[in-house]
């Protein structure tokens, strides 16, 4: 049986942001499904990402809620490799 490595916090954030980026607009339930997190964990991450301005929760014309990326979220994806390299090379 292949053991799955637990994702680091930064990887979880990357996966959430990447999923939103790929879908442009995504419903909360769908995002939770793709993020592979427990409801509580998902809520914690999403709240933090909204508070820190990486993603935003919007309401569509049909009154349905969806997530989309902010400029900061897009910058994160562009610079993810640099961030990952930095953490790895400084042993942080």
């Amino acid at each position: 049986m292949a053991a799955t490595k637990k994702r680091e916090r930064l990887e979880v954030i990357r996966d959430i942001i990447k999923t939103i980026n790929q879908n442009r607009k995504i419903k909360p339930t769908r995002l939770m499904f793709y993020s592979n997190l427990s409801p509580q964990m998902f809520k914690d991450y999403i709240n933090e990402l909204i508070t820190k301005g990486f993603i935003k929760l919007e309401v569509g014309d049909d009154d349905k809620k969806f997530f989309s990326l902010t400029k900061k979220g897009q910058d994160f994806l562009i610079e993810y490799k640099s961030i990952e390299n930095f953490i790895e090379n400084f042993g942080l």
Partner: protein, 228 residues
């Protein structure tokens, strides 16, 4: 020996020049890592940034505000305050640097709002104050030297383990380990000249050069891994 004589005769100017270089390096590191932290929300980067923020302030206080040209126009209390603050910020810088390597072991899911003020960091503030107060009471630097030697022994061991664990070649971890060992050597030499060698000028110059090498190594790493 001419170069040494020149350095001794112009030591106050050279010290200011030395401090300006280090303060500038700290400023670059703080700005670049601050940006990276805001994009990543990574706590290790945050503590690493704080370390150089404190080092920068420490060097500014000691070598700019505490330059002989300035403090001669003030009384002894001013210089005592400079020494006190310099030690405090330097010791805190060391604590932040080692905590940037260890935070995962202590914080887990705890995500503090501020990296400057929370319980674990308060312990470091308290320890730094104790170190500085003891040095002030006995009018020595031994407690600072001793605390920094311990910090950099631990940091060297952690950096060496990180280097050994990493299998990818060409990584900065080797330089990080070298920087930690050089810092340890610098603090050992500091203790040596204070305890035995009566502040030997040649060794003191060597310590300045080692310190510059350490800060330049960190600057190299930060620029290399933050460039777009």
């Amino acid at each position: 020996m001419d170069l040494l004589n020149f350095a001794i005769q112009n030591k106050e100017i050279l010290k200011i020049f030395y401090a300006i270089i280090i303060i500038f390096i700290c400023l670059v590191i703080v700005v670049k890592t601050h940006r990276l932290f805001h994009l990543s929300l990574h706590r290790g980067i945050r503590y690493f940034r704080n370390a150089f923020f404190f080092y920068g302030i420490g060097f500014f206080i000691r070598y700019i505000l505490g330059a002989e040209l300035i403090y001669k126009s003030f009384d002894g209390v001013y210089y005592s305050a400079i020494e006190f603050l310099f030690e405090f910020f330097l010791v805190m810088g060391g604590f932040f640097l080692i905590y940037s390597l260890l935070w995962k072991k202590f914080e887990g899911k705890f995500n503090p709002f501020s990296s400057f003020f929370h319980f674990r960091i308060a312990v470091f503030y308290f320890m730094s104050l104790i170190v500085v107060l003891l040095d002030n009471i006995w009018e020595t630097y031994y407690f600072m030297f001793f605390s920094q030697i311990i910090i950099f022994i631990i940091a060297s061991i952690i950096a060496y383990n990180n280097y050994r664990k990493n299998v990818k070649p060409g990584k900065f971890l080797k330089f990080y380990f070298i920087a930690m060992v050089l810092s340890l050597i610098a603090w050992l030499l500091n203790a040596l000249i204070a305890l035995i060698l009566d502040w030997n000028k040649i060794i003191q110059s060597g310590i300045y050069i080692i310190n510059l090498a350490v800060f330049f190594l960190f600057l190299y790493g930060v620029i290399k891994f933050t460039k777009k």
